[in-house]
């Protein structure tokens, strides 16, 4: 397996990378989504701009109000980070479930969310975390609210010629009480359903609640009605069951030979319930 020919360009800084990007180029981060597609020749590219050597975007910085995770931070480094472990424990929990050791050592969070695979783990987690995506382009820098970031099937708010340099995870009462529950497709290790949940609790009752679901639909999303129905209500089986009825409202549920629409939807309910019960 060998890709079609392309030009390889190594960038030493984000600015250099931005200057190298052209219409038919792609950014090479960890490469664990892109390289397999290129090898199978399901995808081809004229120029590959390698940002995997830019140290400036690999770090994880603990700031006063947020933890800033570099776009080039690997899943492994996120899993091992102590600041995130206390600010948003679901980050480490989710990181541990991505791919395998080797994939976690190379794959990056920025690459993953730019790719926006509908069954990837990070989108669900970042939606729950109320993260912000820091994006650089030739004109400067912008921040996109995660709720506006995943726009469709493999589609994001990232425009051509832009690079994700960081993700900000706010330090909040809800993020510090957060979990990730995943039902794995056993061959690919992607999520058939993955549910990230976080909430600031008053006893057994959430004062705030955010849920991110991946794998179920063509993009990761927040089941807003479920969140709304449960804020201020005790998180017990009966209340959760009552709230889960419309978990898939407004999204088109995916199906494959591992999980039909009906079963996937059922799994989403089971896993959301499991995640929510762990918040208590």
């Amino acid at each position: 397996m060998i890709p079609l020919s392309f030009n390889y360009k190594k960038a030493n800084s984000v600015d250099e990378a931005l200057s190298m990007l052209t219409e038919d180029s792609k950014v090479l981060g960890g490469g664990h989504s892109l390289i397999p597609a290129l090898k199978l020749r399901l995808n081809s590219v004229e120029t590959l701009v390698d940002i995997s050597k830019i140290d400036a975007i690999k770090g994880i910085n603990d700031n006063e109000k947020s933890v800033t995770v570099g776009g080039g931070a690997t899943h492994a480094s996120i899993a091992a980070n102590s600041a995130l472990a206390s600010a948003a424990p679901m980050m480490a929990e989710a990181a541990h479930t991505i791919g395998d050791i080797q994939v976690r050592n190379m794959g990056t969070i920025g690459g993953s969310i730019a790719h926006a695979d509908p069954a990837a783990d990070w989108p669900a987690v970042l939606l729950a975390a109320d993260a912000n995506v820091v994006i650089k382009n030739k004109d400067g820098q912008r921040e996109v609210d995660i709720d506006q970031f995943f726009t469709g099937f493999y589609e994001t708010a990232l425009a051509e010629g832009e690079i994700i340099t960081a993700i900000r995870i706010p330090k909040t009462g809800f993020n510090s009480n957060s979990v990730y529950e995943k039902f794995k497709q056993p061959a690919s290790r992607f999520a058939i359903v993955g549910v990230a949940a976080c909430g600031e609790m008053d006893g057994k009752t959430p004062k705030s609640l955010r849920i991110g679901i991946t794998g179920l639909a063509e993009r990761a999303f927040r089941p807003m009605e479920v969140e709304k129905a449960l804020i201020g209500k005790e998180l017990n089986e009966a209340n959760i069951d009552a709230a889960l009825g419309n978990i898939a409202d407004g999204v088109s549920v995916m199906a494959d030979h591992y999980a039909s629409e009906k079963y996937r939807t059922h799994l989403a309910k089971v896993y959301t319930k499991r995640a929510l019960l762990r918040l208590v």
């Binding site: 199978l40 020749r41 399901l42 995808n43 790719h115 069954a119 099937f153 493999y154 063509e218 088109s252």
Partner: protein, 149 residues
């Protein structure tokens, strides 16, 4: 890959029919099509570029409009070939009256995939189908609103 969907348009059946029978419109609303070259009545050669998530391919193919029953139904018979795989399929279109004077377009078909995309793409096929349907309706809406504006 089952392709099924419907959408209501705020124009008459006849208007919708005439849009759909216009090769230029057809080219515009079919995802990825960059060229639609008539080869006979209701027959076209097509060139299209698809870029969905990790997959990108250039397809060459044929598209025939068949089983025409003006203004209520027709079908598209198509064959799209590429190095990453091929798509053969027939999609039936039904145009019917809906409430408040609008018109319903329903389509239903099965697109058979072969080659690498058939082997590798199963995990996300239903997403692809939904995306294509969405794009078709959205571009048709855009076209209608542009031409009626």
């Amino acid at each position: 890959m089952l392709v099924k969907g419907n959408h209501e348009f705020n124009i008459s059946k006849e208007m919708l029919w005439s849009y759909l029978m216009d090769p230029e419109v057809l080219a515009k609303i079919t995802p990825g099509i960059s060229e639609l070259e008539p080869t006979g009545e209701d027959s076209y050669n097509t060139i299209s570029n698809m870029k969905i998530g990790p997959v990108k391919g250039s397809f060459k193919g044929k598209l025939n409009v068949i089983d025409k029953e003006e203004p209520s139904s027709f079908a598209i018979d198509m064959e799209q070939l590429s190095k990453i795989g091929n798509a053969h399929g027939k999609i039936s279109m039904k145009i019917s009256d809906a409430d408040n004077g609008s018109t319903n377009l329903a389509f239903n078909g099965d697109v058979k995939l072969s080659g690498m995309i058939a082997r590798m793409g199963q995990r996300v096929l239903s997403g692809v189908a939904n995306l294509i349907i969405k794009e078709v309706f959205a571009s048709l809406e855009t076209h209608i609103s542009e031409s009626t504006a």
